[in-house]
Amino acid sequence: MSVLTVGQLTAYIKDLFAADAMLNKLRVSGEISNFKYHTSGHMYFTLKDASASLRCVMFKSANERLAFRPADGFKVVAGGRLSVFERDGQYQMYVESMIPDGVGSLFAAFEMLKKRLEAQGLFAQGAKVKLPRFPQCIGVVTSPTGAALRDILATLSRRFPQSEVRIVPVLVQGTEAAAQIAEAINFFNTFSDVDVLIIGRGGGSIEELWAFNEEAVAQAIYNSRIPVVSAVGHETDFTISDFVADVRAATPTAAAEQVVPDKHELLQFLHVAEKRMFMMMRAKIDNNRRYLESLANAREITRPNVRIDQYRQVLDSIDTRLKDRLAYVLQGCAARLNYLDGKLEALSPEAVLARGFAICLDEAGTVVRNADSLNDADFLNIRLHQGIVGARVVKT
């Protein structure tokens, strides 16, 4: 029997490990203890259960992808390979991936991943795309046997059967689920021309919904150019995919309702549209007719003489004013004539006689102006207003 060096033996054992298919790709569940996060970025810890323990290392390149920060007491499922660390003569597990196993760990992992993805901007409102109003084709990523698919198909067919539906069946729980869901989302984005995607599943425990909390699904949704509606579980269930998706629906039924319009509402809208168009058209025609009638009834058309009559009236009024003015001027002249006539009359001897004066004339017919020119018994003619009388002078 040949003698081996320690190094040769260790190398031999290492080769044995390397040749074993199971040891190169295995998943181990256990509780973390002696967790050390080295300043180099690598993680060192022990996985243990009631009967055994296993040394583990998770290098920086692998643990950067962790959804959560491991800690002592966490129950996890670690994935990776088993190999020999020659220097210490120890076998250890080189952990490539790790997910929490158990509700407490899951909640912690959920919060960690949520915080991290939020910081990376995966939940940003600005990154969200509006859903098309009338999708021609809808992609569905869910379990082919679940109630979720039944609800989605029933709702789509009730509301808007015109849309085509393409389903990519996936596992929605278990260790393969997240990878399948992410792959299906990528598949739709690469090979199938759909307008909107619904991803989801019915209600379940946090473990059952876990696939929708994994980073692979979150990244696939974020990178999807097709708008994604996430419908996982019931109203009270929130998953990471709900936060990343363009729209979060409370249930699969609600997702279908948000993705398509309601055919009956559309028919109702068309009915109202038809009525409105008819009413508006009739109103427009009526208005035009009424306007036309008002034009036809205009006075200028029915009685063209109106304008002439108006001018005639104006002329009449000018005429009247002219006449009035003339009469006034004439009246003024007449008044002045009367006045002058009066004056003239006042100067006439006749008017003096009329007032009671008399004119004395001597026998020669000369007006007697001085009593001294008369002698006793001279004959006088006295002219009165009415007639002439003879008289004799009596000198005293």
Binding site: P161, Q162, E164, V165, I167, M281
Partner: protein
């Protein structure tokens, strides 16, 4: 007046509905001349028929992806 046969409209339901909404908005404008209104009304009626036809279209299919064939196959 041109009468477009509804079957000949190449519009999607969404486009037809959008155009219908525009037509109604135009009709509602008080300064819309009568000739234009009549043409719009005609167009609106054509669009209505088109939209109703689209809604009455036979149901589209539901398919599921098969890994065996690598294609979407009819579900029923």
């Amino acid at each position: 007046m041109m009468l477009t046969h509804p079957k000949k409209l190449a519009l999607t339901f969404e486009q037809a509905l959008k155009r219908l909404e525009d037509v109604i908005a135009c009709l509602e404008r008080s300064d819309c001349p009568l000739e234009e209104a009549l043409a719009l009304y005609q167009e609106g009626m054509t669009l209505l028929v088109h939209c109703r036809d689209k809604l009455d279209d036979a149901e589209k299919k539901v398919t599921i992806f098969s890994k065996e064939t690598g294609k979407f196959e009819n579900i029923m």
